[in-house]
């Protein structure tokens, strides 16, 4: 008798344990499944971020390593350097000159690709080609075009009787040239993202609109664009983050790679590079890196708020139109 009761109690306990385990399974497994991402993020994202902050409050030589703790000294020094502000200006200028036309162009290209073209796949692959070319190779090709004296563009301008543009001397032309390289590389990529979103727009909407007498332009403005909002937000935010961290193109814009004798096109990332690798002052370089991180954070949040407000209002508009 007693033996049987004991055995029963044991099996009950076993059932209880296995219940508990399966409950943990339900609760914990999802986290385990997504944990590789967070482990990786912690390793290559969060840790470097925090470590950079640690470096930025020390004297730190690239090769010599950690020195004394200096508190916010590095930040103060960097903020008082004119080159920091020049490169901040350049970063924003190049970012605006590249991102704005890029998004507009990409939507336009995507709209054309969305039509029934002959050899559809060929065209769609074609716009992605520049993205496959390494940025450094792009920079080499473009530096040939944007030569101050013997560049292709200035030769053409000279043939037309226009004064050559000093691409590597004046501020705005240098920014334009760099923005062109960025646009060349990223427009097609963004166009494909937009295209994918456009293909997801139900065709019935267009048919209904055309029956109602709307022309192509009208359907584009009133159906395609509003329904693209979420993707536009995504593209704007990613291109903001990418645009503010632009490095390859300005670095390769001339052979010295410092952003010009008067830092005409030095971006913040180039400035970080100059401090860290040119002057080997990792402390100051890390301080700028953190400032850049904060700037991007602020802009991204701003972006998000603004675009969400716009998107929210149009969505509501469409919905109210729909119910009417």
């Amino acid at each position: 008798m007693t033996v049987a009761i004991k055995a029963d109690a044991r099996s009950i306990r076993r059932i209880a344990i296995s219940h508990r385990l399966s409950r943990w399974d339900v609760r914990l497994s999802p986290y385990l499944y997504i944990s590789p991402f967070f482990v990786l993020f912690g390793l290559v994202g969060l840790f470097p971020l925090l470590y950079t902050a640690w470096v930025s409050v020390h004297d730190w030589n690239l090769i010599g390593g950690q020195g004394d703790f200096v508190g916010v000294d590095n930040y103060v020094t960097v903020l008082s350097q004119p080159y920091f502000w020049t490169s901040l200006r350049n970063t924003f200028s190049i970012f605006l000159l590249s991102s704005v036309p890029q998004v507009l162009l990409a939507i336009g290209i995507a709209a054309f690709l969305d039509y029934n073209l002959r050899a559809k796949t060929l065209w769609r692959m074609g716009v992605l080609l520049p993205y496959v070319v390494a940025p450094v190779a792009v920079a080499l090709i473009f530096s040939n075009m944007f030569g101050d004296r013997f560049g292709l563009i200035n030769e053409i301008l000279g043939g037309l009787g226009i004064d050559p543009i000093r691409w590597h001397v004046d501020i705005i032309p240098s920014h334009l040239a760099i923005a062109t390289m960025v646009n060349f590389r990223w427009t097609g990529y963004n166009a494909l993202i937009f295209l994918a979103a456009m293909q997801a727009v139900p065709r019935d909407y267009y048919e209904a609109a055309i029956i109602d007498g709307a022309n192509r332009l009208r359907t584009f403005w009133s159906i395609t664009i509003p329904l693209l909002r979420p993707v536009i937000i995504f593209v704007i935010i990613t291109s903001t983050i990418g645009g503010l961290q632009i490095f390859d193109e300005p670095r390769m814009f001339d052979t010295a790679g410092q952003g010009g004798a008067n830092r005409q096109w030095q971006t913040l990332t180039l400035y970080i590079y100059e401090l860290g690798w040119g002057q080997r002052n990792f402390g100051r370089a890390s301080a700028v890196a953190w400032l850049l991180f904060l700037i991007i954070l602020v802009i991204a949040v701003l972006n998000f708020v603004i675009t969400r407000r716009i998107a929210g209002s149009t969505e509501r508009r469409i919905r109210t139109k729909g119910t009417r």
């Binding site: 497994s29 690239l62 004119p82 013997f150 052979t255 010295a256």
Partner: protein, 425 residues
Amino acid sequence: MKRFPRTTVAAAIAGAASIALIATGCSAGTDPGKTYDGKVTLTVATFNEFGYDDLFGQYEDANPNVTIKHKKAATSNEARDNLTTRLAAGSGLSDIEAIEVDWLPELLQYSDQFVDLASADVAGRWLDWKEKAATDADGRLIGYGTDIGPESVCYRSDLFAAAGLPTDRAEVAKMLGTSWESYYAAGAKFDAAGTDVPWFDSAGATWQGVVNQMPNAYEKADGTIIATKNPEVKEAYTSVLEASGSLSAHLSQWSDDWTASFQNDGFATMLCPGWMLGVISGNAEGVTGWDVADTFPGGGGNWGGSYLTVPNQSKHQEEAQKLAAWLTAPEQQLQAFASKGTFPSQRAALESDELLGATNEFFNNAPTGQILANRAAAVEVTPFKGAHYFAINDAMQQALTRVEDGLMTPDKSWEQFVADVKALG
């Protein structure tokens, strides 16, 4: 009865496996250079033109177990960035890294990162000052000298003829004279002839000639920075910019436009250390008229010159040292000189008939060996280059470029130079 639902076990295994994958992915620590049959791949990183292209093949033929991979950076700046980045990262350096004398002092601070190359085989191979510069305070030799850069003046005899100036080497040398004033004066004469071609390439290049004649331009021997207070520097800055106003092509050296200008009659003369001969003949391929004059403004001067080092990171230090020793042996350096004009720093090579009898077809068959040997003998000053030399000189180059580009007045640009130097500290 099942203790664990199968999914839990599977999940645990999958999780563990993925973490293990991540871990192993990071530490793929196999030695890429060596295969099982004792073959060694040595990587050699150089910049500009070292003249080693043929030599590597010869070494491989003589040592069948060695394969050499050559990484060539376009500029010395680029090579320096690459070297310091990988030195800091602790991996990724080539087995042999070429370094330039201008940034050698920075690296001497971390000489323990390089293999001590001193050995009986190479004792006394180089000019004393060349060897001394690469020896650290503890007497470790971290680099084998390759070339030195005794400076002459290269000129376009066809453009000289068009301007009615003498074209013969000896006469040109006489006309250019031995001082900066006479060099600029000859330029003014050339300019006055109305050929519409600038006299020299850039203020920055000319500055290199001037600054390499100052014993302590930017730093005192104890390392104190005096760049912004040194009257010699300020004076030279002013005079170079004065000359550049009417005589310079304003083509910043190594820029794409500068390179392209060799094909477009960009300028008539340029200061010419030995290694520059290879650069000119490369850039000006197909252009006739280049020649070398046996003179240099302000006396002699040495511009640049390099070393081969073996970083501690190398997995084949012995093999690398052997190759470096072979490449910098007098016989091989003479071949490099024949191919790219990199003038030897090795005593035996300097006295060899092969060097003294060498001519350069591209430069109108000029006896470049003899001319550069004369120029080397004329060098009187060994400029002191401390830990900040490279960075300060870089700031100076930018100051000169700002004025040449018309972005700033000389005074304004000097002020910024002062600020830049201050920011280094």
